[in-house]
Amino acid sequence: MPIHERSLIESERVLRKERLVIDGIDVSGDWNLIILPRTVEDYDLDFAKEIMESPDGKTIQQCYQCSYCTASCPVHNYWDDRYNPRHFIYLARLGMVDELQKRVDVMWRCVSCHKCTHRCPKGVLVEDVLKVILRVMYKRGLIGDYPSKKFDQFFTESVLEYGRIEDGELLFGWMEKQGYKIKKDPILRKPIPFFSDIPRWLKDMVSKPIKEGNISFIMLNAKHMLFHPRTKEWNKFKQVLRRVMEEEGALAKGG
C-alpha cells in the first residue's frame, strides 16, 4: 500500500480508537489508527454545466491546464499559493465540488487584475470563469458570504437602486458592515464621520480637506452624501434590471 504524503491526510479523516476489535479479535495497540479513504465517488456535472452555460463561463472548456494563469497570478505568487486558478478550473470542469469547497477560504481572493485572462494561451477568460465558479457556488450554497461577495452585492444593489454609486456611501456603508459604529444624523440617517468610531486613517483622511480648507471638495462630497447621485431616467430600466437579476438569482438572499 502506498504511503500517503502526510500533507494529504486531513485530520477529519483520521480515526483514532483506544480499542479496536475486528471480527472478534482485539487488535488494539497495533491497529488503533484508521485513515478513511478519500476516493472520489462521482462528479457533479450539473454544477459544471451551469458554469459552461453562462456566456462568461463557457471558455472553461478550452483550458489545457498549462498553468500560465497560476504562474502569472499575483495572489498566488505574493499572497497564498493555495490560490490556484488552474486547479480551480480543473475542479470546476469536472464538478469536484467538495475539493472546491476545501479552498473556499482562498477562492474569493482574486483581485481581478486579469493577468490570467490576458496571457492564457488557449483564450480562456480565466478571471471571468473564476468569478462564474464563485457565482455558481454561492447560488448553490457551497460557499458562504465571503468578504468580496458582500462588497460586490452591496455595490451592485446600490447601482440597481440609484443607477450611480457614491464613494462616501460605499466607504462608510462598508465600514458599518465591518462592525464599526457609524454615527448618523437623526433625520436623513446619513453618516457623520467625525463622531463615528472609525479607524484613525479614515478619520485623518476625512479631516484633511477640512484642515486645508478645501471647501469645494467638502461641499461636493457632503452634497453627494446627503443627496445620493442618481440616474434620472432610471425607473423603467431598473425594473428590467431587477427582473434580470432575479432570474439569475443575483439578488441578495432574502433581500
Binding site: Y78, C113, H118, R164, W201, N221
Partner: protein, 318 residues
C-alpha cells in the same frame, strides 16, 4: 494619428464626479488645451465596475449597453472613459456583444423593455490615455507645455485594466510579429505588457520616467481594496517601495480606483511605520495641467490625499 476622433462621448464614471473630481477637472483642462472635445454623456449610469460583473452577467451587460445606447443617441461611435474600471466594463460588454450573438439580441430586447433605444451598432470605448496619445500625442503636449516638469521623476503606474485583458482592451505587443494574428487588435492600443503612452506624454511635458517594470501594471488590490485589506496593503506596499527605490518622487496614475487605493494604503502603511512608501500620487492629467501653466487649485491638487504639493513646490512646478 487622429483615427479615433477629435470629439467623442465622455463617460466620466461615478468616481470622477465625487471623490476623484480632480481627475475630471484636470482631464477637461488637458483635453481643451490639446484641442480636443468631450461631449458629456448626460444621465449615464454606473458601469458596474469590477463588482456587478461578479454578481450578474446580463445585468452588467445591460448597465453598459444603456450607456452605449446613450452615446449612439448623441451621435457618437466612440466613448472615452478616464477610468480603468469604466473602460474595462464598457470594453468587456463590447466584447460579449460583438462575439456572442445571443447576448446581443437578448440585451437589445431588454433595453427596449426598459425604454432604452436598442443598439443598432456597438460603439467602441477607449481609455482617456489611449485617446490623448493618439489624437494629440507627445508632440502636441510638448508644444503646449509652458512650465516643464523639470526634475520630476515619475513612476508611471498604469494598473491592470488599461492594458489587460487583450480580449477587451485590444492591446498587443508592439514589437515582434505583424500583430495581425489577433483578430480584435486595435491600431491605436498601447503595448500590452510594456505600456508607454503615459511615459511619453509626461516626458514630452519635461518629466523623467523612472524604471517601473513590472510594478507599472501590477495590481493595487483594486476591487478588493476595501474587502481584502491584507492583500491590498501588500500589493500597494510593493508598488510604492519599487517606485521609491527606483528614484521616483511622484507616481502618476490614470485610474481613480488605483489612485484611491495607492493613496489610502500609502497613508496606512506610513502610520504603521513601513519604510519607503511615502511617494505621493497625482493623476497624469494633473501633471499635464501644471505643465500647461495651470495652478495647483485649477487641477485640484489639494484633493489628493497623498499631498504631492510639497514635492512639486520644491521643484518649482507648482
Amino acid at each position: 494619428m487622429g483615427i479615433i476622433g477629435k470629439r467623442v462621448a465622455y463617460y466620466p464614471g461615478c468616481s470622477l464626479e465625487g471623490a476623484s473630481r480632480a481627475y475630471d477637472v484636470s482631464t477637461r483642462i488637458v483635453v481643451k488645451e490639446l484641442g480636443l472635445e468631450l461631449d458629456y454623456l448626460e444621465d449615464y449610469n454606473c458601469c458596474g465596475a469590477m463588482e456587478s460583473k461578479n454578481v450578474t452577467f446580463m445585468g452588467t451587460m445591460l448597465l453598459n449597453a444603456r450607456n452605449m445606447s446613450l452615446a449612439l443617441k448623441r451621435g457618437h461611435k466612440v466613448i472615452v472613459a478616464p477610468c480603468n474600471g469604466c473602460s474595462f466594463s464598457l470594453q468587456r460588454a463590447e466584447y460579449f456583444l460583438e462575439t456572442d450573438r445571443k447576448v446581443f439580441e437578448k440585451v437589445n430586447e431588454l433595453l427596449k423593455e426598459g425604454d432604452v433605444d436598442p443598439l443598432d451598432e456597438i460603439p467602441h470605448t477607449y481609455h482617456l490615455l489611449e485617446w490623448l496619445y493618439n489624437e494629440a500625442g507627445p508632440q502636441k503636449v510638448k508644444e503646449r507645455t509652458v512650465r516643464p516638469l523639470k526634475g520630476l521623476k515619475v513612476a508611471n503606474y498604469y494598473g491592470c485594466l488599461y492594458t489587460r485583458p487583450h480580449f477587451y482592451s485590444r492591446t498587443y505587443a508592439h514589437a515582434g510579429g505583424n500583430g495581425e494574428e489577433r483578430p480584435r487588435k486595435r491600431e491605436t492600443a498601447d503595448d500590452d505588457e510594456h505600456p508607454f503612452y503615459m511615459n511619453e506624454l509626461l516626458e514630452a511635458a519635461g518629466a523623467e520616467s523612472v524604471y517601473f517594470e513590472p510594478m507599472h501594471t501590477q495590481c493595487c488590490g483594486g476591487p478588493h481594496s476595501l474587502s481584502d485589506e491584507d492583500v491590498s496593503k501588500k500589493f500597494v506596499m510593493m508598488i510604492l517601495q519599487t517606485a521609491k527605490r527606483n528614484g521616483a518622487n511622484i507616481i502618476a496614475t490614470e485610474c481613480p480606483l488605483c489612485h484611491a487605493s495607492l493613496e489610502m494604503y500609502r497613508y496606512r502603511l506610513m502610520l504603521e511605520g513601513i519604510e519607503d512608501v511615502d511617494v505621493p500620487a497625482a493623476y497624469f492629467t494633473q501633471l499635464l495641467g501644471l505643465a500647461f501653466g495651470y495652478s495647483v487649485d485649477d487641477v485640484k491638487l489639494k484633493d489628493n490625499l497623498s499631498d504631492p504639493i510639497p514635492v512639486l513646490r520644491r521643484l518649482g512646478i507648482a
